[in-house]
Symmetry: C2
């Protein structure tokens, strides 16, 4: 990683797309309009051609607004659209392989346990997506890490940790109090009827928290 | 491309996996045992982790037997498992992007028309997969190029052309007479009850044709 920006700061408000809820490009525009600091493009069940087309659009928008752009799972798509990074889960490409084929990408790794988080840090991950914090309909099979598990990870690893899974406006302050570097949301943002407004309210909650405490 | 081997020769008998018919690793072992000169790993609907696991196994086998190893669609998987190349269709990553992110991979491109074949050659593709020659159940939505269309492509482009789509033991000699550099098969090989025997019979037909004519 040789980025000019402060990764920790860019990870504060991380919005993930979900085409079951809203068109990717549209939701990215609105989420950024509302204050998202990072975007993760998560597309399943689309052709690679469609992924790179959507990714190219999102790269333009995120570049214009100086927002971090991460692609879920697909290292090839991340490289092709010149995203800042890729995010891999335990069913995706092993971290070691990602680092070998894409040494210049930021790499985030999902961890649902302390063991996975430690392993990711050892493997030179740039940040950890820890969760699920709460049960979530977006990934109904997600293992629940909980707030206690989250705190254990934060106090153990040195790389930035963002919290994911079931986060919304009601519980975000409780999650921020764990000491997390950022929060990730899917349905609370891209599933909202007014995505920009929902993102804006979330951003305010996050900013207010960091202003008071850090 | 800076391969030590003769690509044209390696493309003569190109077998593509299909998990709906047979487990990939098993069918690759048997197809190579029967004489396949190239293997394409085509997996859809699997996690990236599974793809790289299967691909790593196939890389070992193809390396041991000096068989060309191409991955369908997924440039990241091809890079991660150190395949020789990647094959992209018109719904996959555009050739230009593939060349940029993976300059050392052999890149094959599917063409179902002369226009697509010419464009692939201009874009510096290493070979063309021309088809579908005949209707095929493996890809029921494939456009039919036919033998006449195949001959037009062969007489127009200079890079190697392999024929794909509906090829089997009955029609392969007719296809070889078009002047094609190699033939690709899915169901005729990996859908056979005895994959090794089916591959061996196909290889004999191909070898006999080339011995007589070229």
């Amino acid at each position: 990683m040789s980025q000019k920006f402060d990764l920790e700061e860019k990870l504060r408000f991380y919005v993930i797309t979900d085409r079951r809820m809203s068109n990717e490009v549209k939701s990215v525009r609105l989420a950024i309009g509302g204050g998202a600091t990072a975007i993760q493009l998560r597309i399943k069940d689309a052709s690679t051609r469609e992924m790179v087309n959507v990714g190219t659009e999102i790269r333009k928008i995120t570049r214009d607004f100086n927002v971090l752009f991460i692609v879920d799972d697909r290292v090839d798509v991340a490289l092709a659209v010149e995203a800042d990074g890729v995010h891999v889960g335990q069913d995706d490409m092993p971290l070691k392989m990602v680092k070998r084929i894409a040494p210049n990408l930021i790499v985030g790794v999902s961890a649902s346990s302390l063991r996975e988080a430690i392993e990711a840090e050892k493997g030179d991950a740039d940040y950890i997506g820890a969760g699920a914090i709460f049960p979530t309909a977006t990934k109904s099979d997600a293992k629940i890490l909980g707030l206690v598990g989250l705190k254990t990870i934060i106090s153990t690893v040195k790389i930035p940790v963002i919290a994911i899974g079931g986060l919304n406006h009601q519980n975000v302050v409780k999650v921020l109090k764990s000491g997390v570097d950022g929060i990730a949301a899917v349905s609370a943002i891209v599933g909202a009827s007014d995505i920009r407004e929902s993102a804006s309210r979330m951003r305010t909650l996050i900013d207010n928290y960091f202003r008071k405490t850090r």
